[in-house]
């Protein structure tokens, strides 16, 4: 494979199309159908643009484009390396089902301020793709902050006191860490003289004293850890569940939290590099935090009665798989981390969309009220069960593939303890998600007030089936469609460059 850099504007078109859609949505706010057409159209065009670049990227081509000089020396540049393409493919593809789902949900739920909602949604997606494809840290930061600002209106969407508080909490967490990240970026630039992501890292041990580099790692990882919800920085995520469910589904299960996980992977793989981190020995601390989060969040999730909150805590735990995979610094664990971005996205989006469908049709948010729901909504609950099994890491569902690789990665670096943690977490996941299916299918409805409900409308139901089916197909054929498994492998190989981890 030869690396070939091609100047191509498509990455920017992919980012820009939903930005344009946001403007059109604002302008045509009064005509509902025209407005919603824009977000669907943007979703299709965006995914088309991204997927059209996949074959070439698989052959080792890198598309690159600099729109303008963002500072005196740095370009505002997007580049399609395999790592970024994994994230870009996932978010752009899932934008399609969710944009249909959002239309069904928002209309079904008679939400107010829909124009602002869809516009902010489109901008958030634009930021997510920008994060995926950024070629240097400053471009990355621009989109990272844009994502913060664009998702804030989605969090306070309900415009009540709870939503206002959640919005504030969200801003505090993300802005604080964003600024620390900025300080880190400045330091990286002064030490390394460049901000371009390079597989294997741009910093070396002789650039600064060891403790400064360790501190720098802490600063930079904080930003990712907050958005990925690593404990104890996860507080914003459960609160942010006051947002409408499509937001929880796409943004708080895919775009925002994955951007956090992706940020961790970028910092570890492309700024510091596994070999430098092995010398610094700080990745181990991150791995401990991630492991703690995996267990603790599952325990908390068990106590939640509100279905969305339970799923939120599950997200917190699952994202720490990504962080853990990155922090283990082994080739296979990094592969597992990248693939878990895909896996968790598909499964969690299914779960959230199911939760949203239940809310819209029955107005029930608590698990204890869902007795016997399986009779009225069999397809929804079946999809929910499939995705739950996937979260637990059942073979033949996509979650298994990534966890298998994570476990192998832990063995590669001689840390079998983390396999124990993975197994515990799988059992815990079963114990907090299976009861939902159990209650729905096997318990009788005590009040008998569910009989009048049916499945949600097709706008919502079909996206749920699509994502659930995909998570099974990808569980059997991980390379189905855009060869995401190969892309993840390429990314992991480029980062480790034949180095087989070891020795924190």
């Amino acid at each position: 494979m030869t690396e070939l850099t091609v100047i191509d504007v498509r990455p920017f078109l992919a980012v820009g199309v939903s930005f344009l859609a946001a403007i059109l949505i604002m302008l045509t706010g009064k005509k509902e159908n025209v407005r919603d057409f824009w977000s669907v159209a943007a979703a299709f065009i965006k995914a088309g643009l991204i997927f059209s670049m996949v074959p070439a990227v698989l052959n080792g081509t890198v598309f690159e484009f600099t729109l303008f000089q963002i500072t005196d020396t740095l370009g505002f540049t997007l580049r399609t390396d395999p790592a970024g393409m994994v994230f870009a493919c996932v978010s752009s593809f899932l934008y399609i089902p969710v944009s249909f789902y959002a239309i069904g949900y928002m209309r079904g739920h008679h939400e107010k301020e829909q124009t602002g909602f869809f516009a902010a949604f489109a901008v958030a997606l634009c930021a997510a793709i920008g994060i995926a494809l950024s070629a240097n840290l400053l471009t990355f930061f621009v989109f990272y902050e844009l994502l913060t600002v664009a998702t804030w209106p989605l969090v306070f969407h309900a415009r009540n006191e709870e939503a206002r508080f959640a919005g504030r909490k969200y801003l505090v967490y993300t802005l604080v860490c964003g600024q620390l990240f900025l300080a880190g970026i400045v330091m990286v630039y002064v030490f390394a003289g460049t901000l371009d992501f390079r597989a294997g890292g741009i910093l070396t041990i002789d650039m600064a004293p060891k403790w400064v580099l360790q501190l720098l790692f802490l600063l930079m990882i904080l930003a990712g850890a907050v958005k990925a919800g690593v404990m104890p920085l996860h507080g914003w995520l459960p609160s942010a569940m006051v947002a409408p469910t499509p937001v929880s589904a796409l943004l708080h299960a895919v775009a925002v939290v994955k951007a956090g996980g992706f940020c961790v992977l970028r910092v570890i793989g492309f700024v510091f590099g596994p070999q430098l981190l092995a010398e610094l020995g700080v990745a181990e601390i991150l791995a401990w935090f991630a492991a703690f989060t995996i267990i603790a969040s599952s325990l908390i999730a068990m106590q939640q009665d509100n279905l969305k909150r339970r799923l939120a805590f599950s997200t917190v735990g699952q994202l720490s798989y990504v962080v853990l995979g990155a922090a283990l610094l082994a080739p296979l664990s990094i592969l597992g981390a990248y693939y878990h971005i895909v896996a968790h996205a598909l499964m969690k989006i299914t779960l959230f969309m199911c939760a949203g469908a239940i809310i819209v049709t029955t107005h029930k948010e608590n698990i204890s009220e869902m007795h016997g729901l399986g009779k009225q909504m069999p397809i929804t609950m079946a999809c929910f069960t499939v995705a739950s099994l996937g979260i637990a890491g059942m073979p033949l569902v996509i979650g298994f593939i990534s966890k298998w690789n994570l476990a192998l990665g832990a063995l590669q670096v001689n840390q079998p303890l983390y396999i124990v943690i993975l197994i515990c977490s799988a059992l815990l996941a079963l114990s907090y998600l299976m009861p939902v299916s159990y209650l729905a299918f096997f318990k009788k409805n005590q009040h008998g007030n569910f009989t009048k409900f049916k499945e949600a409308n097709y706008f919502m139901l079909i996206p749920i089936c699509v994502t659930a089916t995909l998570s099974v197909i990808l569980g059997i054929m991980p390379n189905f469609g855009p060869h995401l498994y190969d892309l993840a492998t390429m990314a992991a190989e480029s980062i480790t460059q034949g180095w087989i981890g070891g020795g924190w």
Binding site: F68, Q69, I70, T71, D72, T73, L74, F76, L138, F141, V142, E145, L146, V149, W152, P153, F156, R159, A163, R164, G167, R168, L171, L175, V176, Q179, L180, L182, A183, V186, M187, Y189, V190
Partner: protein, 496 residues
């Protein structure tokens, strides 16, 4: 003609200032048009001048008054740096003059003529201060700017008069201190020309008199720039000044003294001298304190204008920190922030002025759902607020970026911490405004000035939108601005 651009920038508004009441006497609107035309002319000249300096490869253009040769004669020295700043000043002045017309529609000819006299004079003073190459000439323009500033603040009503009087007392002291400093330098060297002083003073930089001069200049220019702790006059003045003139007063008036400080410390004295280093250190500490305290005070305000005023104290602190960092990136950041902050603060004052014009409201807590009534204005408000916080790609981010870069290069990590904290404090009070605008239930607002077809009269709406676009444009093109303009003006500093 084009070789006279430097003087035309000052001369056109100056003539308009004198003619404005005269024309207004015959036709109430005529004085306004004379002023606006003159300011537009000045703006075009400034842009032309900037292009001239750029074509000359950054070589400074010297313009001798009456062809008297310096150091005896007075000269204007234009390099890309101050050419850029003058272009910004005239830009803000021109659009503020257009913007303020609806506020004056009921006033009589004398008020109208007088208002535009003061407005033009303020532009004259600020442009002159930036362009001049003579320390005493700078004093003259400083006084012109101050006096017209007092007038415009006093036009804001009873509390404005009080604020103006307070500013007058402090401002006069500042001017006297500056004059004392000039006197010391003159006593040492017998020269008033900046370039000449720069050469003559080098041998005597260890004299205690220079220490005194540095201290006097920091105090004098610090007062005029509202650098903490000399900012006591500023919140009242900005809050109660004439709402039409507030964008120019808040946007440009306090920035020019900071530029003068840059000139004195880096061009005339040279930052390698011990006394200057001490001076810059103090400026940096004051700036850092101002950043924190100004931001904290801004959080405590409910009056939007007062919040902006305190935020200005903080933003001047950024410029001071940039000077204190003192390497190439620090100065780039400082200069860029002079420009950026002028545009952002002007646009914010224009926005709140617009809301005040239409609804008579300026309390943050009373702005609920105003986004429905004034969508464009609120869009600009959001852009400017993000700029003030420093979210890329708005221009506010990049000033901070360069200052931080400089601070890390010189290993002054404290300033990095201060900038980070300040950004977060900024975020608190600007996101609070946005939260009030978007989340709060609709406020009970009564239109005091009905506005017809658009959300505001076009004279107000167009400048607001132009400034909103400028914030984004300055952010996106900052790389070009730094490479093509600011860096050309700065190397002189580092040759010494």
């Amino acid at each position: 003609m084009s070789q006279h651009f430097p003087i035309l920038i000052v001369l056109l508004p100056l003539s308009a200032a004198l003619l404005s009441p005269f024309f207004s006497y015959f036709h109430r609107q005529a004085g306004k048009w004379v002023s606006v035309a003159a300011l537009a002319g000045a703006f075009l000249c400034a842009v032309g001048l900037l292009l001239q300096t750029l074509q000359g490869g950054g070589q400074a253009i010297h313009y001798w008054f009456g062809n008297w040769e310096p150091p005896l004669g007075i000269e204007f020295v234009v390099d890309p740096l101050n050419g850029f700043i003058v272009a910004m000043i005239t830009f803000v002045a021109l659009f503020t003059a257009i913007y303020s017309t609806p506020f004056l529609k009921k006033s009589n000819w004398l008020y109208m003529g007088g208002y535009y006299t003061l407005m033009s004079l303020l532009c004259v003073g600020l442009s002159g201060m930036t362009l001049t190459g003579d320390v005493f000439n700078l004093y003259v323009y400083l006084e012109i700017a101050s006096l017209s500033g007092y007038g415009l603040i006093a036009l804001g009503g009873n509390r404005g008069t009080l604020a103006a009087f307070r500013y007058l007392l402090i401002g006069t002291i500042a001017a006297s201190l500056y004059l004392l400093g000039v006197g010391f330098m003159y006593a040492k060297t017998g020269s008033l020309n900046m370039a000449d002083l720069g050469v003559l003073l080098q041998a005597q930089m260890d004299s205690p008199l220079i220490l005194m001069t540095v201290a006097l200049l920091i105090a004098a220019l610090g007062i005029k720039a509202a650098l903490f702790p000399f900012h006591g006059w500023q919140p009242d003045s900005y809050t109660f000044s004439h709402p039409g003139a507030a964008p120019l007063i808040a946007g440009a008036m306090a920035k020019v003294p900071m530029y003068a400080m840059l000139r004195f410390f880096f061009y005339i004295f040279g930052a390698q001298h011990l006394f200057v280093q001490h001076g810059l250190f103090i400026v940096g500490v004051l700036g850092a304190l101002g950043i924190i305290l100004g931001s904290v005070m801004a959080i405590a305000q409910d009056d939007f204008r007062r919040m902006l005023a305190y935020s200005s104290v903080a933003q001047i602190g950024y410029i001071a920190v940039g000077l204190a960092v003192g390497n190439l990136y620090g100065l780039i950041g400082a200069v860029l922030h002079i420009i950026n902050h002028a545009v952002m603060k002007s646009s914010l004052f224009m926005v709140i002025g617009g809301i005040q014009y239409r609804f008579g409201e300026f309390r943050i807590s009373q702005l609920g759902q105003i986004c429905k009534k004034m969508p464009l204005t609120v869009t600009v408000l959001v852009i400017a607020a993000l700029g003030m916080i420093g979210i890329p790609p708005t221009n506010g981010f990049f000033g901070k970026w360069y200052i931080m870069l400089g601070a890390v290069q010189s290993e002054m990590y404290v300033y990095v911490a201060v900038l980070v904290i300040s950004t977060l404090l900024n975020a608190i009070y600007f996101f609070r405004v946005m939260e009030n605008v978007f989340v709060n239930p609709p406020a009970n607002l009564k239109e005091i000035n009905p506005v017809g077809k658009f959300e505001l009269p076009l004279q107000m709406l167009i400048p607001i939108v132009i400034f909103g676009v400028a914030i984004l444009a300055l952010g996106v093109y900052n790389g070009v601005l730094v490479n093509e303009i600011v860096k050309l003006g700065l190397p002189e500093v580092f040759l010494r």
